[in-house]
């Protein structure tokens, strides 16, 4: 495993030079390597342990666990799809070679994180992933420079809190190895220490998966990163955060650790705190996503909300909630990746990401539209896509635990997701095509095939979820969360909850049946005449025949409703307080302190220097600590 990672890292540099010669060769190689890796993760036997070496007197090691396998698999799916997508997409980019190098590094870093057995290894690979992704982000448009900085800083805040926590653990137990820490924590009498440590560890996850209060980087980073990379960011890198969150509540068995700290219906207080953060993220993410005009930022905020779902699910430590949260990682990864790739395709052709400047692209890019449609169905959690399964599980858990407020927030987020995913659907793909895009074409197959493949996987897993549920079941067994309870009942084709079950196959069949019945009805009745919505684009001065209260339409783009799509609702929270502004204020504060220090200590005249020197002597003399 370690050789694999090192080889990846080294090859990423090699690939830079290959890509310098021909970036397309480089990106094809990347895609092939990625595909190979997907097969590779299946071949590694579970429980394999590799010692990397000694660092600071502690053994660093990799361990291949069920959780690692699951997360690696999901990550690779997304990354490989983007790699294939990039083969063509990269020709719209300025730094293809660097992109090829860094995306491979991101892969290596992420895999390392999932393989890490101890916190330091995790940290190292984590930073590799952060660093390389941080260098991809500013390849985007103007705003992306700032985005990279914000991303790096937010990530660092979390990461260093993690590090602090890791060292606190180390100073107490003398080990970084996660299984041992889990054992030690479970037996530790000091509650405050455990709470502090677990929350510090979780901080990295909070920052990375965009959980409130460190969520603000997602908007700016996902919104401005190179378009295809946003797919990796949102689909894959954010999941590193979920992984760490999972470590902090599941690998360190919070139910055991905080056995005396159960707050409400068996959920420990720290978990509850995390759940509250997750819930806050759902609210913020949903509300903010609804009002975005920039489609990438919209989905970025949706990632905040979905990160919240994952955290809420995992945080309950209920078998269903946990499994739902973990499955949601898969669902959101695929959906977000496809959505961002679809957007990347749109931007590739139209060079804008403003919803209000687009419209009617379904006529020009139908395949992209289909991909987007199925992705949002999954994201909104509607059957038969797999997104529903995880939401169902999370709801089951929340309802069973009687966490009504959290449940209400989850419902709100879920219904809100209908709103926000529909906004780009209506504004970008449906409605009227602006005149300037009348010659836009569908993207080439190498770009739409990866999207469709991901969508197909999500669809198949929605109908027959047991292959993807099995690793999660294994994980759950590893973590000892009601291991005897079987959620995925493949024999009876059932997904079971404690309170009721459902059969995804039946649901799918019903769906298909309903559709067929509808289609039969449809064909029974007279054939329609076509209204050509693109008529004004084809013939100068020809109107379209749609209902507009008695006027012909010659300028269809003016009749495209996509600005302030939810104006009525948006108006209700126009004057909302902004956390992002608060954080900027904090940054400004440090900046101002810096200015103050600069002005008082560094800029002034020799007199001031003398003053400080004298004061230092005097203070030392009198205080002397």
């Amino acid at each position: 495993m370690f050789t694999l990672l090192v080889a990846l890292l080294i090859f990423s540099v090699v690939n830079y030079f290959i890509s310098k010669a021909s970036w397309r060769v480089g990106s094809i190689i990347n895609a092939l390597i990625g595909s190979y890796l997907i097969f590779q993760v299946f071949t590694i036997p579970k429980g394999t342990e590799v010692t990397i070496g000694k660092f600071l007197g502690e053994t660093l090691a990799l361990q291949w666990t069920n959780a690692g396998f699951y997360f690696s698999f999901v990550s690779l799916l997304v990354i490989v799809a983007v790699m294939f997508f990039a083969i063509k997409w990269l020709d719209s980019q300025k730094h293809p070679a660097a992109f090829n190098m860094f995306i491979l590094m991101v892969t290596a870093g992420s895999l390392g994180v999932f393989m890490a057995k101890d916190l330091i290894t995790l940290y190292i690979f984590w930073e590799i992933a952060v660093l390389s992704s941080m260098l991809i982000i500013p390849m985007g448009k103007k705003e992306s420079r700032k985005a990279a900085v914000v991303y790096a800083v937010m990530s660092a805040v979390g990461t260093y809190m993690f590090l602090y926590g890791a060292f606190m653990i180390y100073s107490r137990y003398g080990t970084f190895s996660m299984p041992e820490i889990a054992k030690n924590l479970a037996n530790d009498p000091s509650t405050s220490f455990k709470v502090a440590v677990v929350l510090l560890i979780a901080a990295a996850g909070i920052a990375k998966s965009g959980i409130f209060p460190l969520h603000t980087w997602l908007r700016i980073a996902h919104g401005n990163a190179p378009d295809a990379f946003s797919a990796v960011l949102s689909g894959q890198l954010v999941k590193l955060g979920s992984y760490v969150l999972m470590i902090s509540v599941a690998v360190f068995p919070s139910l055991k650790i905080f056995a005396n700290l159960k707050l409400y219906s068996g959920v420990p207080a720290p978990n509850y705190f995390l759940i509250a953060l997750g819930a806050a993220s759902i609210i913020i993410g949903t509300l903010m996503a609804i009002k975005q005009d920039d489609m990438k930022m919209l989905i970025a905020y949706s990632s905040v909300a979905n990160g919240g779902y994952i955290l809420v699910g995992i945080g309950t430590m209920d078998p269903l909630g946990f499994e739902g949260g973990v499955l949601h990682v898969f669902n959101h990864a695929l959906a977000a990746a496809v959505i961002f790739m679809a957007f990347a395709s749109v931007v590739y052709r139209t060079h804008t990401k403003k919803i209000s400047e687009l419209g009617g692209l379904i006529h020009k890019m139908p395949i992209t539209y289909i991909a987007y449609l199925f992705a949002i169905i999954s994201l909104a959690g509607i059957p038969p896509m797999s997104g529903f399964i995880s939401k169902w599980m999370i709801y089951q858990a929340l309802v069973r635990k009687g966490m009504f407020i959290t449940a209400a927030i989850a419902f709100f987020g879920s219904i809100g997701s209908f709103l926000y995913v529909f906004r780009p659907l209506a504004g970008v793909f449906l409605g009227q095509l602006p005149r300037k895009y009348k010659d836009v074409k569908e993207v080439p197959p190498i770009m739409w095939i990866p999207m469709l493949v991901l969508v197909a996987i999500s669809f198949v897993m929605g109908v027959w979820p047991f292959p993807i549920l099995q690793p999660i079941e294994n994980m759950r067994a590893d973590f000892g969360i009601a291991p005897s309870f079987k959620i995925a009942d493949a024999q009876n084709w059932l997904v079971r909850g404690f309170s009721g079950s459902w059969n995804p196959v039946i649901v799918f069949n019903l769906f298909i049946t309903g559709f067929i019945v509808a289609y039969i009805l449809y064909t029974l009745f007279p054939k329609p005449k076509k209204v050509d919505l693109l008529k004004p684009h084809k013939e100068e001065g020809a109107p379209i025949n749609i209902y507009t209260s008695g006027e012909f339409i010659y300028t269809p783009e003016l009749y495209h409703y996509n600005t302030k799509f939810y104006a009525g609702f948006e108006r209700m929270y126009e004057k909302h307080p902004s956390w992002e502004k608060l954080l900027y204020m904090l940054a400004k504060f440090f900046h101002d302190v810096g200015e103050w220090i600069h002005g008082w200590f560094f800029r002034p005249s020799p007199s001031a220097y003398t003053f400080w020197l004298a004061m230092t002597i005097l203070i030392i003399f009198w205080v002397r600590w």
Partner: protein
């Protein structure tokens, strides 16, 4: 008493550095501090009724307490020279400061933004 003088001189030098707006006056204040330190050094080596540590016909013989401590004097010699060097450097810098910023008064200097 001599110690006090040197302490007070240091105080005066610091006062000058703190209050003077003219950079040359600050340099002079610095020089005062230097001098004060030198006085202190010399004073540290003084022995009551001791003579200058030079053997001559008058004092041909080494005796306990006959001479003042020669080491501080040697040190002071070095320190003075160092002070001179610093003073020369500072003065030449101020010539250039005046040329560049059109004044050596802290408040009237131009182009010292950052």
């Amino acid at each position: 008493m001599v110690f006090w003088i040197s302490a007070i001189l240091i105080g005066i030098g610091v006062y000058g550095l703190l209050t003077q707006k003219n950079l040359f006056k600050q340099l002079i204040s610095l020089s005062i501090i230097d001098t004060a330190v030198n006085i202190f050094i010399i004073a540290v080596g003084y022995v009551d009724n001791g003579k200058a540590p030079i053997y001559s016909k008058a004092v041909p013989k080494f005796m306990e307490g006959a001479f003042v401590d020669p080491l501080p004097q040697a040190l002071v010699l070095t320190a003075i020279v160092i002070g001179v060097g610093v003073l020369a450097l500072g003065a030449s810098l101020l010539v250039k400061v005046k040329e560049k910023h059109s004044s050596i008064d802290v408040e009237n200097m131009k182009g010292v933004g950052e």
